[in-house]
C-alpha cells in the first residue's frame, strides 16, 4: 500500500493533472501536510494504537506528574485542539500518611423532612420543556 508520503505524492500528482481550483488544492496540500506531521508524531510514541491505549489508561485518574524526556521535541505552541481550561499547575495532595482522629464530633449533623425529589423533578421538567421549546 505504500507509505503515507508516497501516497501523498501520488494523490497530489493525480490532483494536479485535474482541473481543480487553486484554493482547494492548497487546502488539500495543507491537510495532507498536517496528516504527515501527526503521523510522524504518532510514530515517535509507537503508533496510534499505543497512544490510544496510553491515553485510555490515564484518562480516569489525575496526572500527578508529567515527565518530558530530555530528547523529545517540545512544541513551541500547544495545538488549539489540545488546549483545555485546566490551570497550569495544581499541587498534588499529600494525605496518604494522614488521617482524621475523631475524638469529638466537629461535624454538626441535622436532618429534616423535605421533598427534594419533588423540587428536583420540577427543575428537570422546566429545563426539559425549555430544551424542547
Amino acid at each position: 500500500m505504500g507509505s503515507l508520503k508516497t501516497r501523498e505524492k501520488n494523490i497530489l500528482s493525480n490532483l494536479n493533472s485535474k482541473q481543480i481550483e487553486q484554493e482547494t488544492l492548497i487546502a488539500l496540500v495543507e491537510a495532507v501536510s498536517l496528516l504527515n506531521a501527526i503521523n510522524d508524531k504518532l510514530d515517535k510514541f509507537g503508533g496510534l494504537d499505543k497512544v490510544l491505549v496510553k491515553l485510555d489508561s490515564i484518562a480516569d485518574r489525575p496526572i500527578q506528574q508529567v515527565v518530558i524526556p530530555s530528547n523529545s521535541v517540545i512544541p513551541t505552541q500547544t495545538p488549539s485542539f489540545l488546549k483545555t481550561e485546566e490551570p497550569a499547575f495544581i499541587p498534588s495532595l499529600n494525605t496518604d500518611d494522614m488521617s482524621v482522629k475523631s475524638g469529638s464530633d466537629s461535624v454538626k449533623t441535622s436532618s429534616k423532612r423535605r421533598n427534594l425529589s419533588g423540587a428536583a423533578k420540577n427543575l428537570k421538567n422546566i429545563t426539559r420543556s425549555q430544551e424542547d421549546g
Binding site: 489525575p62 481550561e85 485546566e86 490551570p87 495544581i90 499541587p91 495532595l93 499529600n94 494525605t95 500518611d97 494522614m98 488521617s99 482524621v100 482522629k101 475523631s102 475524638g103 469529638s104 464530633d105 466537629s106 461535624v107 454538626k108 449533623t109 441535622s110 436532618s111 429534616k112 423532612r113 423535605r114 421533598n115 427534594l116 425529589s117 419533588g118 423540587a119 428536583a120 423533578k121 420540577n122 427543575l123 428537570k124 422546566i126 429545563t127 425549555q130
Partner: protein, 350 residues
C-alpha cells in the same frame, strides 16, 4: 419467615448524591437518607497547627485532629475554641471565598476535612459550589474549582461545579415561582448574586466583600483585632439597634451597622447597574422575588436592614415581588445543589 433483603449485583447501583457548599467559614454537605429526609452535615472550615513535640496525644482524645510527621492539626469547631483559649490564630484553607494556595498544608487539611464530612465512596456524584467571577477583584476561580474537583475525585465522587447563588434559587423557590428569582448569598469571604430565569442562570457575579470584610474594616477603624469585632458582632448585635453594651462596644456596633449597610448597598448597586447595562434589552419577568441567604445574613436585624435599603431605591429594573430570607441560610446552598444533583443524576433522569 421474613424475606431477606438482597442486592442484585447485575443491576447498576444508584450513585450517592451529595450537594456541597464550599464556604470560607463553613463547609456544608447535604444528602438524603433512606427515609427520604434531608441530612445536612457542616464543619468549620479551619484548623489550628500545633507543634507535635509539645503535645501529649492523650490530651487530644476529646478533639478532632489530624496527625502528620511533625505537626498536629486540630480541625473544625475545636480549632476555633482552642485558638480562642490559647490566643492563637486559626488557619483557614479558604480566604475571600477561594482556596488559599499560599499555605502548603491547607489543601491536605481541606481534603481531610472533606473526607470527614462526606466520606469515601466508589460511586458518588457531588455538585459543589463555586463563586461567580468577581466584579471588583481578580480571582482565580479556575484554580479553586480544579482543586476541589481533585479532592472530590480522590474521595470517589464525580465532581460537578455549580454556581453558589443559583443553589439558593433551586433550594428556596416555590413551585409557582418556576426557579425564577434574584438571589443574594452573603458569606464570610465574599458575596454572590445570581439572577435565574426558569432555572437558567441569566446573570451572576461575586464581590470581594462579606463578613470578614466587615470585621476587618471595623477593626481597622477602632484599632482592634478582627476576632474582637467578630465576637461582638455574633453576640447581641442588632443591626437595627446598635445602642447596647459598654461605650466602646456601642461604638463598634455602630461601625458594624455602617459596614453592613455598605455591603448591602454595594451588592444592590452592582446588580442594578448590571441589569440596566448588560440586560437592558432583555425582557425580565414583571415581578421577581429576592431571596437572601448566607451566614453573614444571619445577623439579627439583617433582613429588616436589607428591606429598608431596597425601599430606598427610587427605581429598580424590575418590580420586587417579595424580599425573603432562605429557610436556613447555612444549608440553603448545599440543599439547592443536592436538588441539582438529583435532577441531573437521580431517579428522575431516565
Amino acid at each position: 419467615m421474613a424475606k431477606k433483603d438482597t442486592i442484585d449485583l447485575t443491576i447498576p447501583q444508584a450513585p450517592k448524591l451529595v450537594g456541597i457548599d464550599c464556604g470560607t467559614m463553613n463547609v456544608v454537605a447535604a444528602n438524603t437518607n433512606d427515609d427520604g429526609d434531608v441530612v445536612t452535615r457542616s464543619i468549620r472550615n479551619m484548623y489550628l497547627p500545633l507543634d507535635k513535640d509539645g503535645i501529649n496525644l492523650t490530651d487530644l482524645s476529646q478533639l478532632d485532629y489530624v496527625e502528620s510527621d511533625d505537626e498536629i492539626f486540630i480541625i473544625g469547631e475545636d480549632a476555633f475554641r482552642f485558638a480562642n483559649i490559647f490566643a492563637k490564630e486559626v488557619k483557614r484553607p479558604m480566604q475571600k471565598g477561594l482556596i488559599a494556595a499560599n499555605n502548603v498544608d491547607s489543601m491536605d487539611v481541606l481534603a481531610l476535612i472533606m473526607e470527614q464530612l462526606i466520606g469515601r465512596t466508589d460511586n458518588g456524584i457531588c455538585v459543589y459550589s463555586v463563586p461567580a467571577p468577581s466584579v471588583d477583584k481578580e480571582n482565580d476561580i479556575l484554580f479553586h474549582e480544579n482543586v476541589f474537583k481533585r479532592i472530590f475525585s480522590e474521595l470517589g465522587y464525580k465532581a460537578v461545579p455549580f454556581n453558589e447563588a443559583m443553589g439558593i434559587v433551586y433550594s428556596e423557590c416555590t413551585e409557582d415561582e418556576h426557579f425564577t428569582a434574584l438571589s443574594f448569598s452573603y458569606g464570610a469571604g465574599m458575596s454572590n448574586v445570581a439572577l435565574s430565569y426558569k432555572g437558567n442562570q441569566v446573570l451572576a457575579f461575586s464581590c470581594a466583600r462579606g463578613g470578614d470584610w466587615i470585621d476587618e474594616s471595623v477593626a481597622r477603624q477602632f484599632g482592634t483585632v478582627p476576632n474582637r469585632v467578630t465576637s461582638i458582632k455574633e453576640n447581641n448585635t442588632n443591626l437595627t439597634d446598635y445602642k447596647q453594651g459598654s461605650k466602646k462596644e456601642r461604638l463598634i456596633r455602630e461601625g458594624i451597622v455602617y459596614y453592613y449597610r455598605n455591603l448591602i448597598s454595594y451588592t444592590l448597586d452592582m446588580i442594578k447597574t448590571k441589569l440596566e447595562t448588560e440586560l437592558a434589552n432583555v425582557d425580565l419577568p414583571d415581578a421577581l422575588p429576592i431571596i437572601v441567604s448566607g451566614g453573614t445574613s444571619k445577623a439579627t436585624g439583617f433582613m429588616d436592614l436589607f428591606r429598608a435599603i431596597v425601599e430606598d431605591y427610587d427605581e429598580f429594573p424590575f418590580e420586587i415581588k417579595e424580599v425573603r430570607a432562605a429557610q436556613d441560610p447555612l444549608t440553603a446552598v448545599a440543599e439547592g445543589l443536592l436538588i441539582k444533583a438529583i435532577s441531573e443524576y437521580g431517579e428522575h433522569n431516565e
